[in-house]
């Protein structure tokens, strides 16, 4: 990746918690603390914790990760997330206690 300077958990955290032109941020459903149980912003359906520290299944299935990035980035950003953005977010989530 040209100009790649590594992934940053700090950047990932900011990305996770801000809105990106729409109504929702990642935190809208996954909450400000991804290790906590989340809740769908529209339906109220409970969402299991996103951080692997709280939910060991997370990120174990690459197909599932891609599927949800594709959907949710479309919802939150109106486009696909770049590899940089995905990497940052994953780094943030993987380092959460």
């Amino acid at each position: 990746m040209p100009g790649f300077k590594g992934f940053s958990a700090a950047r990932g955290e900011v990305f996770f918690k801000t809105t990106h032109g729409g109504e929702w941020s990642c935190a809208s459903c996954h909450t400000e603390n991804p290790a906590a149980q989340g809740k769908h912003a529209k339906t109220g359906k409970l969402v299991k914790p996103l951080a692997p520290s709280a939910n060991a299944e997370r990120f174990s299935d690459p197909g599932k990760v891609e599927k949800w990035f594709k959907r949710n980035c479309n919802d939150v950003l109106g486009r696909e997330c770049t590899a940089q953005e995905k990497g940052d977010v994953l780094t943030y989530l993987l380092t959460l206690r």
Partner: protein, 172 residues
């Protein structure tokens, strides 16, 4: 008093017995095994019971809201929903083509066309039968405003065994 008006009390007792005896028939609708029986036992079709749940349906359709039973909508409605999953009530719910085909087939095979619909509503809450069974006379409007309920799409707020295709209601 019984001595003074024996005839009256005898008749009162008979009337009470008749009333109690005919009460079950007075029930407008009865739900058994997921099938809805109208007056005089008329079978109105199995509204929601599915023969066998499909894993993909359960997983994909149940990730953001409760997986709505195929029997809750007519075939054509499901076809429309599955054809526009990337624009699913404001969100992207798309699945792979293969999974889409599998879920679409499952929904179509278990959909319910017994309730005649003139249009093909996309929302279960817009179907005639839903409006009839959840009308203002049956459910006060303030029930929908209860924060525990939140919306008409939150079936599980009252139908707590929906996951087992059982639509008996738990009183709130």
């Amino acid at each position: 008093m019984l001595n003074y008006y024996p005839e009256f009390f005898r008749r009162l007792a008979v009337a009470a017995l008749i009333l109690i005896g005919t009460m079950p028939a007075a029930h407008a609708e009865d739900e058994q095994d997921g099938a809805v029986y109208g007056k005089f036992g008329r079978n109105r079709g199995n509204l929601a019971a599915t023969v066998q749940a499909n894993d993909n349906w359960k997983t994909e359709c149940g990730s953001c809201h409760i997986a709505f039973e195929p029997g809750l909508l007519p075939t054509e409605s499901w076809r429309k929903i599955m054809g526009n999953l990337d624009k699913h009530f404001g969100v992207d719910a798309a699945v792979s083509e293969q999974v889409n085909a599998e879920i679409a087939a499952f929904l179509a095979n278990n959909s319910n066309n017994h309730w005649t619909e003139e249009t093909t509503p996309l929302r279960i809450t817009e179907t005639d039968w839903f409006k009839r069974r959840h009308g203002v006379r049956k459910i006060p409007s303030r029930a929908w405003e209860d924060p525990e309920v939140k919306s008409r799409a939150n079936c599980a707020a009252c139908h707590q065994q929906m996951e087992r295709s059982h639509f008996g209601i738990k009183q709130r």
